[in-house]
Every structure is written in structure tokens, then in C-alpha cells.
Symmetry: C2
Subunit: 355 residues, 2 copies
Amino acid sequence: MSQIQFTRNEQPKAKPDANHLGFGKYFTDHMLVMDYTEDQGWHDLQIVPYGPISLDPSAMVFHYGQEVFEGMKAYKTADGRISLFRPDMNLKRLNASCERISIPQVDPEALMEGIVELVSVDREWIPEGDDTSLYLRPFIIATEPCLGVRAAKEYKLMVILSPVGSYYPEGIHPVSIYVEDEYVRAVRGGTGMAKTSGNYASGIKAQEIAKLEGFSQVLWLDGVEKKYIEEVGSMNVFFKIGGEVITPELSGSILAGVTRDSAIALLRSWGLPVTERKLSVAELFQAARDGKLEEAFGTGTAAVISPIGTMKWGDEQISIAGGDTGEWSRKLYEAITGIQKGLLDDPFGWRQIIL
Amino acid sequence: MSQIQFTRNEQPKAKPDANHLGFGKYFTDHMLVMDYTEDQGWHDLQIVPYGPISLDPSAMVFHYGQEVFEGMKAYKTADGRISLFRPDMNLKRLNASCERISIPQVDPEALMEGIVELVSVDREWIPEGDDTSLYLRPFIIATEPCLGVRAAKEYKLMVILSPVGSYYPEGIHPVSIYVEDEYVRAVRGGTGMAKTSGNYASGIKAQEIAKLEGFSQVLWLDGVEKKYIEEVGSMNVFFKIGGEVITPELSGSILAGVTRDSAIALLRSWGLPVTERKLSVAELFQAARDGKLEEAFGTGTAAVISPIGTMKWGDEQISIAGGDTGEWSRKLYEAITGIQKGLLDDPFGWRQIIL
Ligand SMILES: Cc1ncc(COP(=O)(O)O)c(C=O)c1O
Ligand SMILES: Cc1ncc(COP(=O)(O)O)c(C=O)c1O
């Protein structure tokens, strides 16, 4: 097992029922940890039994939120192998997030090697049912025990694994969206392009309000003019208007989704024009009134493709694709999950067989 | 000791040298903890030996940043008592932060009682030198072990105590400020009015750049127009221009500082006009060029008053009050610390003698 230190969990847990996994509720028997100090840099990558970590209450992550994370999935392929989907993009984005939050860069190759070992150790945990996979959550927290607002000098990187079912209990099913025009998730010059905990904390309240009003997700507008569409929930968002697919450009306050990038490439390969540009919610609703809004969907690792059935902005509510899963949403979902699970050809070389 | 559960630390630490405390580096022998579950609400307030806490790696605080905190100080007064400064405002603000971050409200009276007990238990830790005090850090973290972006169902509240010296190694001494016009700390509709970790993570990078350029703090502009002055470092900010004191209004992206509120009241009681309004950095620099910018200072619990000696915006650098500590900065510093330490009358009833 190369030079990675490994401590086997001698008390493995019972595996959960693969039909009721939910999302992020169960964790496997092992986890990866790696520490950073000023003297040694990143060091001591280990695979150890999954279990609680012990931190000083003054650990900086508890006070000043220096944290970044990633999310990706491992799949059992049709021929019994194990694949990841474009993990290089996740590791690159992890370092981009680190850069924004002043966390030291991680060697992507060493981390990738550790991740492969970890998945290998816990491979029995990868569920096999439809819409299931093993979710990988790498994250880094500032552990230095000090109350001073500055970059920490000590960090811990961990990777934990969770067997998951559909992100939405209903599976691929149109969601209802509420256009949020009071609360803001991120702003140009802020941290929206980084995968860092504070972005998510800031979104919880709006999401609770949307739920109370009967909607399942929030559509975020830009923080400057509250006019342009940014993301939906924790997903990037696409609209098909008059035969053209439009998705918000990566302006600095939007996360550069791996699924977003993949959806753009696939749609283009199918001959559909895709434009990355600013799209105002007013333009979108006008297109809906004119009968030109043909389809809308969110993209993200957790749900892959999330068709949008209805959308409410102020007093106006629109229905999209008759409230159903549109043609291209379904095609994308099938293409991406097909590539991930080894059921389809992989023309872009996205599937990475690791075991 | 009322109904608070107390476990004495049987291995008390040696106290640090009162002349080299720094800020937030040493912690006392005990801490307060209280847990929240959906069933029981906040319960089990305890005072226990200071020490590490154990959390599942999937604890939501590590991923989605649901966290709020406060900062206040306890002082030994001239006649040997122990005082806090307007702690009711901190507890009110804690709950305001909780509201924004969807954390359940805390009973301020129960928490206050716990804080008094905790300070009492560790009263020997309150340093007595000039510019020293015992810093109190209440904070709340989401502890539920689950990877789902929503409000957690389990939380832990803690209060830790740190004997501190001057926040700035130089003591009350003019600082140099860099006007940040790329990175943004907070925006209207975001979380700037809450004391939550994500706001601080987002500011670290700009602060590092400022340090590299030889400045000690960043002046933040509003996230929408990048035109109006918001805060400086982790402080509110005041300017005296042509005899009038101006401080940014509480627009929603600025923290409502306890020191800010106190400075406004004191300045007004001394007959100075104080206006809370939008102030653009262009207006400020014009006032400086016109010779009307008489004084500038930051306010905050950590440093109390931090005079601003120089300020750089783009290519222009101005010197304020001859680069020295201005008259009103000094008066405010002496008035506030005098009230805190029981050396001066307390006309507003801000000093709360707790022991
Ligand atoms: C805010 C946000 N936007 C978009 C995405 C989609 O990114 P990806 O497709 O890489 O999962 C995520 C993560 O899943 C996210 O957290
Ligand atoms: C962002 C920010 N602004 C202003 C302040 C000043 O608030 P207070 O005077 O209550 O300490 C603080 C905290 O110290 C802060 O963190």
C-alpha cells in the first residue's frame, strides 16, 4: 500500500440498507487524514478508522471559518470496476478554494493516491442500486488554537466517505424553485467561486423560507444588482430558451461546477448551442411569458441533473416543460450517469477507473 | 453555585506572564459548555475543565459553517471587583447572529448566569496590568453529523476565556490602513451584520495582501458599489471631518459594534455632532485633500480604540492627525477603559459589576 500509513478498523460497522441511504447520513469504516504545520508542510497522510476528531475549542475553524471542501462520487461500473468522475477537476478546484481562503496548497497527486487507497479499503461500501454511489467528501479545517483573525499555521485535511442514494428523496423529479431577492449567497469579490463553508451558512435562512412557502430550492441572484441569475440551491443552472441553452457565466461569485462543465460539453457535442452569459431573471420570465422557455435544470455532483418544474418570482409563478422532466434534462442525466457507471462510451475521457 | 453543573479542573495550568499575553493565545482552566438537541432544546449547561472537544468529522460546522460567536471582556476594577462592559448587548447580538444563521435562540439570562459563574471560577486568571483584561469568547457550532445543506438539529455552545494584552503589540498607536477595492467582506442581503465565521474567512486574503504592502489593516468598502466605507479590519470606523464625526450607518452589511454604540454616545455627551450615514471613500479623500479630515479611528472590543494614522487608496496615501493619535481617539480610549476598569464615573450604566 505504497508509503501511506494504514490502521485497519477492527470493528467494522454493519452496512446500511441500500434502499434507504438518503444523503450523507452513513459513513464508512475508514477515513483519510493529513496534517499541516508550518515546519513540515502537509505531512503524515494516513488512513485510519473512521471516528471523532479532537480539537481545541480555540481551533480557528470554529471562529474564523477557514475551511474548504470538495464533493465527488465513486461508482461501481457495469463490469465490476470502480470509477471516479473527473476527479482532477475536483482537486484543482480544492486548490483554487484554498487559494481564496489562504489555506496552503495540497499536492493533488499525493491526495489522489490517498483517495484511491481509501476507496479501495472501503470498496465494499460502494452501493450498487440505481441512483446510488459512494460520496467522497475531502475537506480542510484550520486547527491552530488561537483567537486571532489571520491565516492559521496548522490545518487538518480529511476525506470521509458516505454511501448515498438520490439527493432528492423523489429521485430525478422536477423541483420547484423560489427566486430569492432579499438574501444573497455571494458577491463579486467575495467567496462565491470557492467551495467554503461560509457560503453555505449564508444560504440556509433563505432556503428555510423557501421551504416554508412550499418550494424545494432557492434561485440566487447576483449580490450587486439582484437582477442576474447565479445558481440554484447548491447547483449551477441552465435554461433552454428558443432552442439555445443559456447558463450564467463564471463571474467570480459562482462555483465552477464539474457537472456544469460536463453538461456544456455534452450539449454542444449533441449540436445544441450553449451560451455562457449574464441572464436576468426578468429576461427569463419574459421568455416564459412568450412561450420560449423550453427547459430548465440544475447541475451538481449530488443530484447530477435536477429538472426545474416551476419557479416563482415575486407574485409570478411559471411552469416549465409542463412541470415535467424535459427532454434534455433526461438525456443529460442518462448520459452522465451512464458514463459514470460504465454503461456508455466515454468520448471525453471523463471516467477514471481507479480499481 | 445555583443549578449549574461544575467539574473542577484538578490540574490547573501555570498562568502566563502578564507582560507578554498577546491576544487569544492562552486559555484559562475552565470552560462553559451547553448542548442543543431538537428534543431537549438548550440543556445541560456545565462548567468543565478547559480541554479538547470531540466531534464527528461530518459535524456540520466543518462543512456548512453554521457558527456564530461573540467577544467581550472582563476587567478587574480599581476597587477589586470584576466588571463586564454592556454584556446585555453582546448576548442580544449573539441571538441576532443566531437568527441570521438559523441557529436556535439562547436564553440570555441563563447564559449570563453561566458566564458569571465561569468568570468567578477562573477569576485568578484576570490579569491586572495596563491594557490587559480577560477576553470572553462565547460561540456556537453545529455538531449534527450529517452532510446536508440545511440547519442542523444539534449544536454546542461554549464559552472560553483568554487573558489578553493589547490587541496590537504596540498598544494604542496609530495604524496604517489599506482601502481594499477588489475583495469584499460582506454585502447587503449577506451575513455582514452577523458575527459568523464565514465573514472572517472571506477577509483573510485581503488582509494578507495589505500586510505584504506594509499596512496593518484593511478598510472594507460596500459590496454593491465598492464606493462606501463599511468597516476597518474587525472594527467599526469613525472619521472627524470639519468638526463633525461621521460613521457608516448600520446598513445590514456592518456589524453593530458595542464599542461603536458607546463611542457615539460619549462623543454626543461631549457636545460633538455625530452622524451615521453613507460615506464614500472619494468624499473622505477629498476631505483629506481639503485639510478637513481631522481624525480617524476604529472601534472594537479587542483594541477598544485604534487611531488611524495613514490610509492608502489606489495610488493616493494620506496622513491623518499628523500620523499621531488624535485628541478624540485618546479621549474615547481613556473614557471607555476608565469606565471598564472602574476608574471613572459610569453615567450611562454600562459597567456591570458581576463579582
Ligand atoms: C454552490 C454550488 N454550486 C454548484 C455546485 C455544483 O458543482 P459540481 O457539479 O462540481 O458538483 C456545487 C456543488 O456541488 C455547489 O456547492
Ligand atoms: C467585523 C467586526 N466589526 C466590528 C466589530 C466591533 O464590535 P464590538 O465593538 O462589539 O467589539 C467587531 C468585533 O469586535 C467585528 O468583528
